[in-house]
Amino acid sequence: MTSAQREDAAKALSIQARREILQMTHDAGASHVGSALSVVDILCAVYSGSLNINSKNYSQDDRDVVILSKGHACTALYAVLSLTGFFPKTWLRKYSSNGSELGGHVTSGSIPGVELSTGSLGHGMPYGLGICIARKRNKVSGKTYVIMSDGECDEGTTWESALIANHFGLNNFCVIIDRNNLQSMGSTESTLALEPFVEKWKAFGWDVIEIDGHNFKELVEALKYSSNKPICIIANTIKGKGVDFMEGRVVWHYRPPTEKDLLEALEQIESSKS
């Protein structure tokens, strides 16, 4: 697959995944639709051939490990995994219902391709670096990608892990931050300021690249990047991306789409194809 083909595949996937996210959150009356629409393009790029992970090889020792640490954006991961053949699409219809395989935060165990249950922020990064240390010491190839939220960078374990990854020279570790500038109750900067964000990561010894997290060319390019240091990709995104009345609005961290919202949103997604 060429880079251009991957970009096209990711773009096509993202349209389908957005539909599923909207449908799932609507059906389940569930929250975090804005977070899922923010991170979904990153996941689509990740699962469209740029990394060594797919529905056939997810149990292999040398696969690329992908952990969605912002577990509240689970609908995006479930949609992408299902659409790329990890598990049946029928599971999506039961999302977040009693006895469903798919819980309201990323839940591991019985879901093919899900490496770690998340939901409490700040777990993905230290867990992922553990995999990196073990692989480095045992000469197992394959990288680990932890996709996290910018709000998650309030957590102490993020910066503990930033220290550890640098100290152990984990050049097989990549963190992708879904930098949508919004967290639970307002902007990241008004809640607990992260800026100067790039400089912070650099000061911790990381190689940092900043991209547009909705631009598939930049995403595919960034996923190819390698370094002798741990890599931090700051992907600038828009919470609620793709649905104009959700974009940049904190309320869609909580509110499930109504029937009317859903129809309007699906229409917008449909027209974005052209």
Partner: protein, 302 residues
């Protein structure tokens, strides 16, 4: 216990490269052998208990058996959620090791005591809680833990505990270790506080009473067959260096209730009032109501 644990684990790790030991920057000079001879199997994670625990789970997810070592509450309460989510719920092969169970760190204060740990650890799904009473049990149990894969909590004392076992016992998960048999009652204990239990048994013997002395290393899996077979109508005393809530005493109460057995159950544990006092381990045990006198009283009342 601490030294026996490290020595035993080192020997196991030499034979099994899947064993990994992580310390949270504690154990000065204790791990020199590990660090020097098995550098691929040793990590000092610095003072990052929370990340250290998730990291341990991540390492374990690649097929390793990971031991995470720190003092008392640092390896348990400081990183409780990481133990719960990433080790227990994910069923990763991690052994949480705490050195200094109970008041072992004495005058260092309650920041360094582990007095609520059993209650909390035994409530976690998949978690096996183990508390050896001396170096001999520690050696056997460390070997078991090195060759199994359950999420586990290993509660150690510190150093210099007297051996309560005379010989290397046959330790089986889910079985008690009976150190001495008697027909006038039972003292069950866990951990290094066994020395108080043993002294009580000796004193009772002088008073003409033969009491069974039983170590309970496997707290999360009590031997129910044994409980059913026990002599009725004699006092049973549970002794632990832990708060009265949720520990070994609670485990016995739960077991007796589930077996629908009426027993004369007594509990010697730390009251919640004096936990913050300053003093050495002996002083703190006494001040918190863990004493020979208190144990003996339950037997002479009848």
């Amino acid at each position: 216990m601490r030294n026996t644990f490290v020595k035993t684990l080192y020997e196991e790790a030499k034979r099994n490269e899947n064993i990994v030991l992580i310390t949270g920057d504690l154990g000065f000079q204790l791990f020199d052998n590990f660090q020097k001879n098995l550098p691929k199997q040793f990590i000092n994670a610095g003072l990052t208990e929370q990340s250290m625990m998730s990291m341990a789970a991540g390492i374990a997810s690649t097929g390793k058996r990971v031991f995470v070592y720190s003092i008392a509450n640092f390896s348990t309460l400081r990183c409780l959620e990481q133990i719960r989510n990433d080790v227990c719920y994910m069923n990763n092969s991690v052994v949480v090791v705490s050195v200094g169970g109970g008041f072992a760190y004495g005058t260092l204060g309650y920041s360094h005591h582990a007095t609520e740990d059993i209650a909390i650890m035994r409530s976690l799904p998949n978690m096996q809680v183990i508390s050896p009473c001396d170096g001999i049990e520690t050696e056997v149990i460390t070997k078991i833990l090195a060759t199994t894969s359950n999420p586990s909590y290993l509660r150690l004392g510190k150093t210099g505990e007297l051996n309560l076992n005379m010989n290397t016992p046959r330790i089986i998960n889910g079985k008690f270790n009976v150190l001495r048999e008697g027909n006038h009652g039972y003292i069950f204990f866990t951990g290094s506080v066994g020395i108080i239990a043993q002294k009580s048994v000796i004193q009772l013997e002088k008073m003409g009473l033969n009491v069974s002395l039983i170590s309970v290393p496997f707290i999360s899996k009590l031997d129910k067959d044994f409980l059913v077979e026990m002599i009725r109508d004699v006092p049973i005393v549970i002794v632990e260096e832990h708060v009265s809530r949720g520990g070994l005493g609670a485990a016995f109460m739960e077991a007796f209730i589930s077996l629908n057995l009426q027993v004369k159950l007594n509990h010697v544990s730390a009251s919640l009032e004096n936990l913050a006092l300053t003093g050495d381990q002996e002083f703190l045990r006494e001040a918190n109501g863990i004493s020979v006198a208190k144990i003996v009283k339950f037997f002479i009342k009848i």
